[in-house]
Subunit: 344 residues, 2 copies
């Protein structure tokens, strides 16, 4: 069995169909200017010999490209896999293929992935995942992306970045306000906050929202413990242990994403702390399992799937003179993990 004979080419199809390359190309592309009978025959031949057009040749020749890139922090994280699902949804709909890269919450690696995607001449690049509060971290990325855009590439980000590109902006601050107000309205004052790295804009914005809610009650973030750990389930777990140890009088813990909140719930269960009886817990995002946890998790819903879809849709539109920005909406999902502060 020939191991490496090459795949059938358009020339093979053309020859077997007894037509020219151009005609074959036109027939397969379903373009104008070929008699239906010839076109049908060509298509039939192509099917027979199992012809599949070489995307690289097609792209190189100036034909329509057909791939978009997506950069996520970590695809195993439900927040990102839901966004990816949204991106894949519209991509599939439009016959596009998507290349996914991990940035691992590392600005250096993110830049590397951007370069990779550019090398692949993707039509568009969607960067999902928080930007960084330090503009310097994105300086080089911005330079590279700008060059990419000048050569006709399209870019959209999800989240607040220091990048001059179109953006889907999650309602992080309003979400923070809403969840903060919710917890405060339940009478809680001894509130602990579990945050991810302060370098992430997502963390900064959610914190700012909570602070606004606090201010409305005459309080401030300085009055309550804010712990920065990893922005993951394990970070939440570790953070909750520390919070419990250092601040045993807390009546509520707000985690800055559901993954962390799940870690918190786990610690509380382990220590036999009643939720929300003794301590209320709230998160952000409303990942799919949030409603199925026990107690079901109070959180602020961000439409991840739609965000992914919106970002790609935006990136696929023709470039506009100035950056487009799109909000996301958010919704308080008051469930069982939060309750009124206990009477003393």
């Amino acid at each position: 069995m020939a191991k490496s004979r090459s795949a059938p080419r358009l020339a093979d199809v053309a020859e077997r169909a007894g037509v020219s390359l151009a005609t074959a190309s036109r027939s397969l592309a379903g373009r104008e200017g070929v008699s239906e009978s010839v076109a049908a025959h060509v298509r039939e031949v192509a099917l027979q010999i199992g012809y599949v057009a070489n995307v690289h040749a097609r792209t190189l020749a100036g034909g329509a490209t057909s791939t978009v890139g997506l950069i996520v922090h970590e695809i195993g994280d439900p927040y990102f896999s839901e966004i990816a699902s949204g991106v894949l949804g519209v991509a599939t709909e439009r016959g596009l293929t998507v290349q996914i890269c991990h940035s691992g919450r590392d600005p250096g690696n993110e830049l590397h992935q951007i370069r990779t995607l550019i090398a692949h001449r993707t039509d568009a690049i969607v960067i999902a995942g928080s930007g960084y509060t330090d503009p310097a971290l994105q300086e080089e990325s911005d330079r590279v992306l700008t060059a990419f855009q000048e050569t006709g590439g399209r870019v959209a980000v999800i989240g607040r970045h220091h990048l001059s590109v179109d953006a889907v902006l999650p309602d992080n601050k309003p979400a923070g306000e809403v969840i903060g107000a919710h917890v405060l309205s339940l009478g809680h004052r001894r509130i602990g906050i579990l945050a991810g790295s302060p370098l992430l804009t997502t963390v900064a914005d959610r914190l700012a929202g909570i602070e606004a809610a606090l201010h409305a009650e005459g309080l401030s973030l300085d009055d309550i413990p804010v712990l920065h750990t990893e922005f993951t389930r394990d970070g939440g777990h570790a953070g909750a242990e520390e919070l419990l140890r250092e601040h045993p009088d807390l009546t509520a813990i707000i985690a800055l994403n559901d993954a962390m909140a799940i870690g918190v719930l786990s610690v509380l269960r382990k220590h036999g702390v009643a939720v929300p009886g003794q301590i209320s817990v709230a998160g952000f995002d409303d990942v799919a399992v949030a409603a199925d946890l026990a107690p079901s998790l109070t959180t602020v819903k961000l439409p991840m799937v739609e965000m992914g879809a919106a970002a790609l849709t935006m990136a696929l539109k023709p470039a506009s003179a100035r950056r487009r920005r799109k909000g996301t909406g958010h919704q308080l999902m008051a469930r069982d993990s939060t309750g009124p502060v206990r009477a003393r």
Copy 2:
């Protein structure tokens, strides 16, 4: 601002560096036969003008491709996103880029995605997600993949497929036996099973495992209710409602994956049924949240991340004369959602 001036090409680098195309190419590729001084200069120039090689041109010219394809049923499903994470891990490590496609558990669409990936001349294709018990459903895919392999392409699947390619075979049957034995050992006899589509080999194999466990106790699958719904959280939810209605005397429910089990838990909680007090619940996979549910979910761990990594690793090896097969191992995670059958 020029909107569509094109990206810098190798020719631009060569010109500015005052060398020929060939030398520029060799320098950048770090190949032999160029004086180190010249090579360094070329690299420097390339960096300066922000040159990034065009992957399509490179691939077309016969250079090494550097992308692999991954087909999953649905990236938003934790089972698949964990597998994807494993695939991305080894891909990143080797400087490969991965294209992800959704098959949506639809054989027709899966074939379409395979074609797409082949058109992209990916070095390798990894198909994650159950095969189908009906060989006819994969006949055409098999033909296409065989052709792909004959032209040097590499393929690996995760799961039992009717495809003549390398495979990572999840311990579905042993896992079924182990979880079945576990539930039986707790004294349960009125057990309900919630399964996904019987067309999926994953479902068939897990069921077979449970049946084996049943046989060991002188029972059979025919003696207990087996309900086929969607292989998702919502399928589990709907299925549990029906099971509860039709078979109110059940003392245990085994869901054929954790997603379904989560749906079951949700229904039980809603109806105030104590778990495991009144009904024990078990799942398959051990997705990340399984341990953090309340009660924590008894399940059989399958190493999804490693499976993804193993599949890509396998696919990247040179082709061998006969199909390679690799088992996965499995581990019973006996947690809080299962307990001894209640005394009457």
